[in-house]
Amino acid sequence: MSGSQTPNDGELVVRARRGDERAFGQLVERYRRAAYAVAYSVTGRQEDAEDAAQESFLVALQRLDECRSPERFAGWLMTIVRNRSRNLVRRESLRETDQVPLSASTRSPTPDRDAERSELQAALRDALGALPDVQREIVLLHDLEGWKHREIADRLNLPSGTVRSHLHFARRALREALSGQETVEERRRSSP
């Protein structure tokens, strides 16, 4: 083990394999937000994303011996998250004939400011829902979780150029959606 204060993923995985709760806790803390973001990008629902992300950590622990490159734990974990989330969506869609889309947010009557915010969020959900899965995942990991291109490329096993390209198109789509929403709001304000 290296003497550094923050052990790398490989070291934590090796310790977690031996049942070190602290090491496993550090892995969870390090990747819980990313796992949630990836799960959300697949399920489109916050409750489902939470369930899928939690389950994925437990599955990852059970299969930790199958992680052949402990230093690439994050990419391996994200694959589990993606698969668990897809399974969850499949199960849900079998249960419900009309699956709630990404854009289906709770829209309760709210005061003006809240209503405005809620519309903006709905527009953003719509725009996110319209993105291809990989673009949605990348923009959430980059702009919400703050992962760098290199980290995303490395952990999702994608070429760096592909990551940049996906991010560029995803951002453009989101900005268009957001500016469209703003135009609607401005028009509403200016109307008598």
């Binding site: 031996r18 953003l124 951002r171």
Partner: protein, 135 residues
């Protein structure tokens, strides 16, 4: 909410976070509505992981001696039991008597009377005269 979405901070600098998009996406972070969300998330995962972590600790603590002792603990009684059963079976079986002499070997399986038998009988009955004539 009047933000200039078309010119967000660092929008064209791919490596930087797009501040506009990032802040707009902020509502997706569960902690934005529930500050204790991630703590509870962490606690739930660790609670669910506790049995598996305990199993792994137990496996990691086992030494070669423990493994061998564990084997012996199961193996010795099984071997003793198997030996006892085998002994019982051997005792109960009445093995066929083995032929002891060359004659026995030569006459084994012959249904009719054999010369050794005839000789034996004649010895028991009386003396047998093979020659009647005397010189």
């Amino acid at each position: 909410m009047s933000r200039n979405w078309t010119t967000p901070g660092g929008a064209d600098d791919d490596e930087a976070r797009d501040v506009g998009v990032a802040s707009a996406l902020g509502f997706l972070d569960p902690a934005s509505r529930d500050p204790g969300f991630w703590m509870r998330f962490q606690a739930r995962v660790l609670q669910g992981a506790a049995p598996e972590l305990a199993r792994r600790r137990l496996m990691a603590d086992l030494t070669v001696g423990d493994v061998l002792t564990g084997w012996a603990r199961a193996l010795v009684p099984t071997a003793v039991l198997a030996a006892a059963v085998a002994a019982l079976v051997l005792i109960r079986l009445t093995p066929a008597p083995l032929p002891a002499t060359v004659e026995d070997l030569l006459t084994a399986g012959i249904q009719t009377r054999t010369i050794p038998e005839a000789l034996h009988e004649s010895e028991a009955a009386a003396s047998v005269a093979f020659a009647t004539e005397r010189f």
